[in-house]
Symmetry: C2
Subunit: 265 residues, 2 copies
């Protein structure tokens, strides 16, 4: 499938530290805000193309530092979610949204079949194919993978303030989220909540389910409030905090079952 | 990825009647019993390579007739599930089973990382990529798809007789299975059961979930007892019976909600 991305534009996916030794595999679907040149600005003024509707502010920076700290692989998606939201299946109205939060996206209105297919096949599919191939290789060598997807959310959505620092999201398989939430509960300086500010009912667990659920991997989605990681100090702070939490979570996942049972009594 | 299938061997997937007008998309993961030449006989005598452990006896024949009767697309997988069971993720021990039912599969023992990766990337992945691409195209044009996967089961498993003719299987999303089961309930001449002889707890809903669940498509897995469809008469009979059931199911899925509510009171 060609036609959306020109030869001088990069592939949607970047794999960082692919040989990382951690069982954690970090995935960041909304890392970038690059717009495919063929789509222009989607009819939006420049300021809208750098807002949270276009990407997850700060998520890439935290993810890169966290990948280094954990020695974990990280799979990033470079293009703006306004072109295609890689955390949504092709059938979802949110995949190529005509409205994001309260902003009309003119360039997503009235798309033809071929335009939609091109976005699906040039953005969504190569990204998920790359995640699949990466996890296939790990499966082939019997490596256990813990899937952690990295996101950020806007402090105020549709005029309403959100009262949390970290959202710990999961769908049907809550194994890893339960561990992460219990570890967060010991920290006095952050407010972490389960399945907030979104949950599976909002369709935000697509990547988790597609790669984690389908393979029966432990999986969790982390959503950091973006004003906390819009600057370097906050990014380092959160990378370090999540390193602590995930290192403890890994130890708990790999602890023998008998010990796990004792520790919860 | 090359190296498993030689140039004169076909791709794993065959799409039949791709332009079919039915909303039903038929998928048959265990249609074929072809063994990739590079794998020889997996150390098995010839008679084991034609048993139910190698493929779903009769499923392809019924599926082809059903596709024609419904004017539905059908996506077939040609290779033996002993080489790779395309209804299992790469992490599953059942993907390249060392034992199937009670039969040891010597050629699947002690596989190296590269051997496992090659099976995953040359059999499993191209098959599911083809299903994804097919459904992506339908999503792009806004076509609603009902995913129906076609299987057969052996009448006696590990020495125990199974007392049903048709298994109607589903995981979390039972919308289509509920409709099919209610239609089967009106038939006096067949015994249909929900999530028998297998269910989601046995990991058999992988394809359903991967393509149906992930896209929020209505989906169901049909398992016909293979002695009923091991001969042409039975194959035609079951194709015709399933045509009736699925045509009624389609009508019910597409019936306006208000009418559906009334009809259930």
């Amino acid at each position: 499938m060609s036609g959306l991305l020109r030869p001088d534009e990069g592939e949607p996916v970047i794999v960082i530290n692919g040989d990382g030794k951690s069982p954690v595999v970090l995935v960041c679907e909304h890392a970038g805000k690059v717009m495919p040149k063929a789509l222009g600005s989607l009819g939006l003024p420049p300021e809208d193309l750098v807002r949270h509707i276009a990407w997850d502010i700060g998520a890439e920076a935290v993810s890169r530092q966290l990948a280094q700290a954990l020695d974990a692989p990280l799979i990033l998606q470079r293009y703006s979610r306004l072109a295609y939201d890689c955390n949504r299946p092709p059938e979802s109205p949110g995949a190529m949204p005509e409205v994001s939060e309260t902003t009309r996206i003119p360039g997503n209105e009235g798309l033809s079949e071929d335009q939609r297919f091109q976005r699906i096949r040039c953005l969504y599919r190569p990204f998920h194919d790359a995640v699949s191939e990466f996890l296939d290789r790990r499966a082939a060598r019997g490596a256990v993978s813990l899937l952690v997807t990295m996101h950020s959310f806007t402090p105020i959505y549709k005029g309403k303030r959100r009262h949390l620092d970290l959202g710990v999201l999961h769908d049907r398989d809550s194994r890893l989220a339960d561990i992460v939430l219990s570890l967060c509960g010991r920290l006095k300086d952050i407010v972490a909540k389960r399945n907030e500010p979104y949950g599976p009912e909002d369709g935000v667990c697509h990547t988790l389910n597609l790669h984690g659920g389908m393979r029966n991997l432990h999986n969790v989605m982390l959503e950091i409030r973006n004003d906390l990681i819009s600057h370097e100090t906050g990014q380092s702070q959160w990378a370090s905090r999540l390193q602590d939490i995930l290192e403890q979570a890994i130890a708990l996942v790999f602890r023998p079952a008998a010990v796990r049972v004792n520790s919860s009594t």
